[in-house]
C-alpha cells in the first residue's frame, strides 16, 4: 500500500497529543492545542487526529425515545451537552449514565463500557407499560413500568449502573448468561450498580442500604426494593408479585431452568459475599472490595466461571493488591466462607521456598 506524503509539520509530534488525549484531564488541552495549530496552518490536523482520538474518546451520551413502540433505538431526543428535556425519563437516563461514566473513569480509570469511550446510548419509553430495563448488547433500554406495581425504570441510578455493567462484563470476563456464570454476571451488575449509588451519595459501606432497585416499586407493593445484597430473600413479599426468591447461602442454591437457570435468583449468594467483604473492611466500599471485584472482572474470570472460581479469583486478586494474609484477603476469604464457599488460598511463594542455610542451634538447646 502506497502511503501519501504528509507535508504537515508538527512542533509537538502528534503522538504526544494522542497520549494526552487518552487522559481525561488532558484531553481538552490536547484538542485546544491542535485547534490553535490548525488555525495557524490552515490544515485540519484535528480531523486527521480523530481516528487516533477515537481510541481514547470521551463521555458521550445520547438519549432516544421509542414512544412506547419496540423499535430500537427510536428517535434521538437528547445528545451530549444538550439542555435538560421536559421528559424526566430522558433526563434521568442522561444524568445517571453520566454518573456511571464518571464513576468508572474516576474510581477505576476506565473509559466507558469498552474502555475506549464507547458511546452511551439509552432508549426510554420502550414498549407499553413495560416492567423492565435491559442491555441489548450495544445500549441501554428502559420501560415506563405499568404504573400499578412499577414506576419508570430510569428512576434509580443503580438500575442504570446495573445495565451498563452488563456492557463492561461483555467486554471483559464475558460471563455466560446461564447458571452460575450468569448469576455471577448478574451479581457484578448489582455490585457496581450499588457501588455507583454509594459513590453518588458519598456513603461508606456501613451507611449504604445495599438495596437494588429501590424506587421501582409503587406505594402499593409490600417491599422495599427488588433485591437486598445484605439480606437476600427479604427485599419484598407481596400478594401480587410474590416473595423475594433469592438465597443467601450455597445450601439454598436454586435449581431451575427458568430465568436462564436462575441468574437473577442465585446472584444473591455472590451479592452477599461482596456485602460481607465490603462491610468487614469498612470505609468506601468501592476503594477496596470494589477494586478487588473490578480487577477480578477484568482478566481473572473465564466466561464459564462458577462461584468457586470467583471466590478463588477474588482471594488471589486481594493477595496481589494488598498482600498475602492481609486483612483485605482475609475479609474476602471470610465473606465467601460465610456464604458456603471455601476459597482456594494459594500459599505465598516465599513460604514455600526452602531456607538458604540451616539455622544454627543456640548453645545449650536440645
Amino acid at each position: 500500500m502506497k502511503h501519501a506524503h504528509n507535508h504537515i509539520c508538527f512542533v509537538i509530534p502528534p503522538v504526544i497529543y494522542q497520549k494526552m488525549a487518552e487522559k481525561p484531564h488532558l484531553r481538552e488541552r490536547a484538542m485546544r492545542a491542535m485547534e490553535i495549530s490548525e488555525r495557524q496552518r490552515g490544515v485540519r490536523q484535528a480531523a486527521m487526529m480523530l481516528p487516533l482520538l477515537g481510541a481514547a474518546g470521551t463521555k458521550h451520551r445520547t438519549i432516544f425515545d421509542a414512544t412506547n413502540g419496540t423499535n430500537q433505538p427510536g428517535s434521538e431526543v437528547r445528545d451530549e451537552g444538550d439542555p435538560e428535556s421536559q421528559d424526566i425519563s430522558v433526563n434521568e437516563a442522561y444524568d445517571y449514565s453520566g454518573d456511571t461514566y464518571d464513576f468508572f473513569s474516576q474510581v477505576y480509570n476506565r473509559n466507558s463500557v469498552d474502555d475506549h469511550g464507547l458511546l452511551l446510548k439509552s432508549t426510554v419509553h420502550f414498549d407499553n407499560q413495560y416492567n423492565n430495563a435491559f442491555w441489548n448488547g450495544f445500549q441501554m433500554i428502559y420501560g415506563d413500568g405499568d404504573g400499578e406495581h412499577f414506576n419508570r425504570f430510569t428512576i434509580s441510578v443503580d438500575v442504570i449502573g446495573h445495565e451498563l455493567t452488563h456492557g463492561i462484563t461483555q467486554n471483559e470476563a464475558q460471563l455466560v448468561y446461564q447458571g452460575q456464570p450468569g448469576a455471577l454476571n448478574e451479581s457484578m451488575s448489582d455490585v457496581f450498580g450499588s457501588l455507583l449509588k454509594q459513590w453518588v451519595n458519598n456513603q461508606t459501606a456501613d451507611k449504604a442500604d445495599w438495596l437494588i432497585g429501590q424506587g421501582l416499586f409503587t406505594d402499593v407493593v409490600k417491599g422495599t426494593a427488588l433485591r437486598s445484597m445484605s439480606a437476600p430473600g427479604t427485599a419484598y413479599d407481596d400478594p401480587d408479585l410474590g416473595k423475594d426468591p433469592q438465597p443467601a447461602h450455597m445450601r439454598d442454591l436454586v435449581n431451575t431452568n427458568r430465568d436462564n437457570g436462575g441468574v437473577h435468583i442465585n446472584s444473591g449468594i455472590p451479592n452477599r459475599a461482596f456485602f460481607l467483604a465490603a462491610t468487614n473492611l469498612g470505609g468506601f466500599a468501592w476503594q477496596k472490595a470494589g477494586l478487588i471485584w473490578y480487577r477480578t472482572l477484568c482478566g481473572r474470570l473465564s466466561p464459564t466461571a462458577d462461584f468457586q472460581a470467583a471466590a478463588d479469583a477474588t482471594v488471589a486478586v486481594a493477595a496481589s493488591l494488598f498482600g498475602s494474609a492481609s486483612i483485605e484477603q482475609k475479609a474476602v476469604i471470610d465473606a465467601w466462607a460465610n456464604v458456603g464457599i471455601t476459597a482456594t488460598v494459594e500459599a505465598p511463594a516465599a513460604l514455600t521456598a526452602p531456607p538458604k542455610s540451616p539455622v544454627a542451634k543456640p548453645m545449650g538447646a536440645r
Binding site: G137, H162, R258, N260, H264
Partner: protein, 98 residues
C-alpha cells in the same frame, strides 16, 4: 382451548405465570385469541427459540397451547420473538390483569 403462559427473567426477576381456559372468555375474545395463534403459526414454531446475540435482563417466555388442533409448547427468548408472534405475546401479557 387451554393456555399456559409463563414469563421469567428480566431485570426484576419477578415471574408472571397463569393458565386459562378460553371457554371462560367472551366469544369475541375467544375468536381474537384463536386468530392470534393462527397468525403466529404457533403449531409450526420450533419448541425452543434462543437468542444467540449479546444482551442481558431480557425476558424468557414459555407458551403452551392445548386445543383441538393439538398440543404444543414454545420456549422463547424475548430478543428472538419473530414479528408474527409478537401480537400473541402482547395479548397474553396484557390479559394477566384479569
Amino acid at each position: 382451548m387451554r393456555i399456559d403462559f409463563e414469563r421469567s427473567g428480566g431485570f426484576t426477576g419477578i415471574p408472571l405465570r397463569y393458565s386459562m381456559s378460553t371457554e371462560d372468555l367472551p366469544a369475541g375474545e375467544q375468536e381474537k385469541l384463536a386468530e392470534l395463534i393462527r397468525a403466529a403459526g404457533f403449531f409450526d414454531l420450533p419448541p425452543v427459540i434462543r437468542s444467540t446475540g449479546p444482551g442481558a435482563d431480557r425476558f424468557q417466555y414459555t407458551i403452551s397451547v392445548d386445543s383441538d388442533e393439538g398440543k404444543h409448547t414454545v420456549e422463547i427468548d424475548e430478543a428472538a420473538v419473530p414479528s408474527q408472534l409478537q401480537p400473541l405475546i402482547a395479548w397474553l401479557q396484557a390479559s394477566r390483569k384479569r
